[in-house]
């Protein structure tokens, strides 16, 4: 059992919600699909993937072989995140950048204390967190910024390769432009790195 794979930490939080609140929350999720509203998530730069899933009380998956159906009073909201760094760093950063949006989403969960002050918020997350039993990451040695930088550098390099037909003066200019763009995005990520606790 591990919430950690390489540089990534996987967090699962499941909180109960009154059923009538799900409709409101679903509207909020629709609004959040507008890309301009995701700039805070982008600015965090350490989240590989994140997702929220509402499991309606009467829509837990049901297989014909099950002797009885699941029957619950509450709907449940599951939040999952894959991020780089430790749990504490993540919650601190998540909370300071996304405080308002977190409140908008978790406000509908039962007994949510609000994102400020931080201690009750962390207590709430801890209380509702479920540990991961199996965790796979395709590039465990690379943080999100490593991946984004690698993609940028490789794409720019492919453009540079197309310019090798240019005359010397032009190619020199193109090469220097590539170098300036790439110099802060270089390195060799992907190794095991230091162990996270």
């Amino acid at each position: 059992m591990s919430n950690i794979r390489g540089k990534a930490y996987g967090m699962n939080v499941i909180t109960p919600m009154k059923r009538w609140k799900t409709k409101i929350l679903n509207i909020l999720f629709k609004v959040l699909t507008i890309k301009a509203l995701q700039k805070d998530l982008h600015s965090l730069s350490f989240i590989h993937f994140a997702r929220w899933t509402v499991i309606p009380s009467k829509k837990f998956p049901n297989f014909p072989e099950q002797p009885t159906k699941e029957f619950l009073k509450y709907d449940y909201m599951m939040f999952e995140s894959n991020f780089n760094g430790s749990w504490n760093e993540y919650i601190d950063a998540f909370n300071s950048v996304l405080s308002l949006k977190l409140n908008l989403i978790w406000f509908w969960s039962e007994n949510y204390p609000g994102s400020q002050p931080l201690t009750p918020f962390k207590d709430y997350i801890t209380h509702n967190q479920i540990y991961t039993d199996y965790y796979y990451m395709a590039y465990p040695g690379s943080a999100v910024n490593d991946v984004k930088n690698a993609l940028d550098v490789h794409r720019s390099f492919q453009d540079l390769v197309k310019l090798t037909e240019q005359d010397d003066a032009q190619f020199d200019k193109s090469f220097n432009k590539f170098f300036v763009g790439a110099q802060n995005k270089l390195g060799a990520s992907g190794s095991l790195g230091s162990e996270m606790t």
Binding site: F29, R51, W52, F60, N111, Y139, P140
Partner: protein, 201 residues
């Protein structure tokens, strides 16, 4: 409400775990299995060539958050499955049918509905769809598909080496070095999904 984020698919599923009375419960066996199931290159989700991230956990029960809410309990324990991958669920089912093998069976044979599943794409797809809960909101930060990302991570290292060498070269040599590096990137074996890079080299 969306299982999609651009070209990525976010699959969320809950699979009720068998409640048969036996010496060791299915839940305990499954948890033990998941704790030792390989997650490096060549493991179950690595072999699909599509999955960026996968996590499985057992939901024993729901959490009680105190007064004034009412305490309630799950009738079943569930295996929760979250996968973020390239493309469509149909593609993943095809890959799981082709490469899932015994590992896929060893996990899901502890769940209701698996007994009737055959190792073909249609049957696996139906099973995954029955256990699926629609993801409400999915977010993926980097925009490369898995193969492009793995190649880019490899390329980044080779490009770094190239730039170190290029510093004192004339234009013709720089051009040759760029083309040589491009060839190296093209012909290099792609890193295996799930591995640390140094483990491979």
């Amino acid at each position: 409400m969306s299982n999609y984020y651009e070209k990525f698919y976010g699959y969320t599923g809950f699979f009720p775990i068998l409640k048969e009375v036996r010496e060791v419960s299915h839940t305990i066996e499954l948890r033990k299995l998941l704790s030792v199931l390989p997650n490096a290159g060549g493991s179950l989700f690595s072999r699909t060539g599509l999955v960026h991230g996968a996590r499985l956990f057992i939901l024993d029960d729901v959490v009680y958050n105190g007064h004034p809410t009412t305490a309630e309990h799950l009738e079943y324990e569930y295996l929760a499955v979250s996968l973020t991958f390239d493309g469509e669920l149909e593609f993943l089912a095809e890959k799981l049918a082709e490469f899932g093998g015994e590992e896929f069976k060893s996990i899901f044979s502890h769940c209701y509905g698996y007994a009737k599943v055959e190792l073909n794409a249609g049957s696996i797809l139906k099973f995954l769809e029955t256990g699926q809960v629609t993801t409400s909101f999915l977010y993926v930060e980097a925009d490369g598909d898995l193969q492009e990302t793995l190649r880019a991570l490899l390329a980044q290292k080779l490009i770094t080496e190239m730039l170190a060498k290029a510093q004192f070269l004339n234009t013709a040599d720089k051009r040759a070095l760029v083309l040589e590096t491009a060839d190296k990137i093209r012909s290099a074996n792609l890193p295996l999904a799930g591995d640390f890079i140094e483990e491979r080299n």
